[in-house]
């Protein structure tokens, strides 16, 4: 937590040197990679039955990653960004938040979105090049997948502001990468929230890399968490592979946001175990030794170990779960693949609430043309 020990007036007469500001940042870890569990902070945070569900949620998200990778490799899907290794971050947040708090994510937060109820096939459909995958139902309070890096945090600020404006207690929680924290829009989103008292929880997925660029080029400071100090925001670092720490941090931040309309910055230290996307080959720029080290810190592994230590889990349960997951994921894939390409007129239909006359003309011209053209399109596409 960032402590504002001193709050000196901006103009003082103490000479020649006066300390006018002090801060320190804490790191929270509750369940570490050796399956050490801190009872003091962790007790009661996640009831056992929920922990089992959270473990299954992470496992099923992980399996989707495997399947999606294969779909892309066999030409059945476009570029896909695996979430592998980062499941605990967004899931911890989704678990800690109210179901109607805004979840404003980037593209590596499948696990949190699924917890919210976003159907797997929506995410698949999106990466299959179909806008309908982004037609998030209102009930999920989730925004579409954000492709332009570092831009969606401003929407979180606006969404939370809209709730505050209407006197609702809904807050917003936004996710973005360490790379994204280099974009100017991050600065503006945090600064708006801090200065206009807007209830946002900023969660940075601090995963060491932005494609091939190492974190020191995005943030050479000792922590990414200290970015929040710039705005006078409470800020903290958590072990992002520790679902307990993520839940703990987001719960506190959400309470603060709801009670006092103040934002918080949380650095969730995690690691992208896979390539950046299926279009990437991470072996070009990072050592296998680093990846191996982080495999030991996998959020799934330690959660399973804890469950086993608590005698809530064993390999037969694991097998049964795996079967359930395969059925679910495969069914989602089947549903997504069943969805045929929309008619070409679909390109027009959601440009405006009402199509201007010239767009109607353009749509009609397409229809005239498409009989002749469909053939050509088909040939070129493959």
């Amino acid at each position: 937590m960032c402590v504002r020990a001193l709050n000196a007036p901006r103009y003082t007469s103490v000479m020649p040197i006066q300390t006018v500001f002090k801060a320190e940042i804490e790191r929270i870890s509750i369940l570490d990679e050796h399956c050490q569990f801190d009872e003091k902070l962790g007790a009661g945070l996640i009831p056992d039955e929920d922990l089992v569900r959270l473990y299954e949620a992470m496992s099923s998200c992980r399996y989707l990653d495997e399947v999606a990778f294969k779909l892309q490799r066999s030409g059945r899907m476009g570029t896909y960004p695996q979430n592998m290794g980062q499941e605990a971050t967004s899931l911890g947040a989704a678990y800690a938040l109210r179901g109607d708090d805004w979840l404003v994510t980037c593209y590596r937060e499948n696990c949190g979105l699924f917890w919210r109820g976003v159907p797997m096939e929506s995410i698949l459909l999106h990466w299959m090049g179909d806008e309908r995958g982004n037609a998030m139902p209102a009930a999920h309070y989730a925004t579409p997948i954000a492709v332009p890096i570092g831009t969606q945090m401003l929407h979180a600020t606006g969404l939370a502001w809209a709730s505050k404006y209407r006197g609702e207690s809904r807050i917003a929680c936004t996710f973005f990468g360490d790379g994204a924290s280099s974009e100017g829009d991050f600065h503006e989103a945090a600064n708006f929230a801090a200065n206009l008292d807007i209830p946002v929880v900023f969660c940075c997925q601090s995963n060491s890399w932005a494609i091939s660029v190492p974190q020191r080029i995005q943030c050479s400071a000792p922590t990414v968490a200290q970015r929040g100090i710039a705005y006078g925001m409470p800020c903290m670092q958590v072990d992002g592979n520790d679902i307990f720490a993520c839940v703990y941090a987001v719960k506190n931040a959400a309470a603060r946001a709801r009670e006092s309309s103040r934002p918080t910055f949380i650095e969730m230290v995690t690691y992208r175990l896979g390539d950046h996307t299926t279009a990437d080959d991470a072996r070009r720029y990072r050592d296998q030794a680093e990846v191996d080290l982080w495999k030991l810190r996998d959020p799934l592994l330690r959660t399973r170990k804890l469950l086993e230590a608590k005698r809530l889990w064993d390999s037969s349960k694991e097998d049964a779960m795996r079967q359930r997951i395969e059925v679910t994921v495969n069914a989602a894939v089947a549903r997504a693949e069943e969805i045929a390409a929309p008619p070409t007129s679909d390109v027009f239909d959601h440009t405006f609430a009402q199509l201007p006359p010239d767009l109607v003309r353009q749509r009609d011209s397409l229809q005239t043309h498409s009989l002749a053209g469909e053939q050509a399109v088909h040939t070129e596409g493959h």
């Binding site: 831009t151 600020t157 939370a160 989103a189 959601h350």
Partner: protein, 322 residues
């Protein structure tokens, strides 16, 4: 009816929409106690409170990005960008998000947002305070762009923009903020987005223009002894193609006038559209009178850059004597 200038007409429209619809809020740099640097939002914070008229940090991307969030969250934000030259930092949020949110989410999220921006030259301002970027946003699908040329239109178009379910950039020609007054109804009224205004009828030639250039066109018409029809587009996108082409089919000649640089300006679109729709009626090429393909100069030379009655007159002659 009240006799209002353009600033007052906008101010009135804002008051009426804010009274009518609690979802409408204003935000931007200096829009609060200062009433905006042009005093367009004068008195509004005193009237509606700091909750609905909000001074923001100095960050245009932040203003538009949070406005997008506000709109996605069900409100009707009306952000102000202080000068068109400072739209630049917000370009990405406008074009990558405001314009795309509806199509991206198949209308699950929409962005009913009205961005108010003073535009154009002629007020002896420093650099980046006198540009005309309307074509940039007309080229971006998913946004509507309007630009009134009179107090009456200013009020009606702004009310339409605020009520529009999609993002609208509302350009305010600052050269005529206080240039003249006209009768503006006290009641609320709308002017449909996408409809041009026939300023005056004529048979020899059509002038197409918008914003403060309309005034220069009227001066040129006054000086001319020909029968000239003047169309004020009022909406930049979607353009009222029917009004333009109908007129040019009648007159056979056209001059299009704007302050922005010529290359890829809206004048090119008007000319190309006319050629497509009225080819056999055209008796001369459509003439473009515009800014040059140079940076708008600092103010000592700005009037040489901007189309004036004399340059418009020259183009009228060229078209008529082709």
């Amino acid at each position: 009816m009240a006799n209002l200038n353009l600033v007052q007409a906008i101010n009135l429209a804002l008051i009426q929409e804010m009274e009518r619809d609690e979802r409408v809020l204003l935000l931007g740099e200096d829009v609060g106690i200062n009433g905006g640097v042009f005093r367009v939002t004068e008195g509004l914070q005193a009237r509606f409170g700091a909750r609905r008229v909000v001074d923001t940090p100095l960050a245009e991307s932040g203003i538009i990005g949070t406005s997008i969030g506000l709109a996605m969250g069900g409100l009707r934000p009306v952000p102000e960008i202080q000068f068109e030259g400072f739209l630049g930092p917000a370009y990405d949020q406008i074009c990558s998000h405001a314009a795309r949110m509806r199509t991206r989410t198949r209308s699950a999220f929409t962005v009913p947002l009205t961005i108010r921006v003073p535009v154009g030259g002629g007020i002896h301002a420093p650099e980046l305070h006198s540009d005309s970027p309307e074509a940039i946003y007309a080229h971006q699908p998913g946004i509507k762009v309007v630009m009134p040329s009179s107090p009456y239109d200013a009020k009606g178009l702004l009310i339409s923009a605020i009520r529009d379910p999609d993002p609208v950039i509302y350009f305010e020609p600052k050269r005529i903020y206080r240039a003249f007054r006209e009768e503006v109804p006290e009641d609320e009224y709308t002017i449909p987005i996408g409809k041009a205004r026939l300023v005056c009828e004529g048979t020899d030639l059509t002038i197409v223009s918008w914003g403060s250039s309309v005034i220069q066109c009227m001066q040129a018409i006054e000086k001319s002894n020909r029968s000239i029809e003047l169309i004020d587009l009022r909406t930049i996108y979607p353009m009222d193609i029917d009004a333009v082409t109908e007129s040019v089919r009648k007159t056979g000649r056209c001059v299009v006038v704007h302050e922005a640089p010529r290359t890829c300006g809206l004048g090119a679109e008007v000319a190309a559209t006319i050629m497509e729709h009225c080819f056999l009626h055209l008796e001369a090429p459509v003439q473009r009178v515009s800014g040059f393909d140079t940076i708008m100069p600092y103010y000592k030379l700005e009037l040489s850059y901007m189309p004036d009655a004399s340059r418009i007159g020259g183009a009228i002659e060229d078209a008529l004597t082709f």
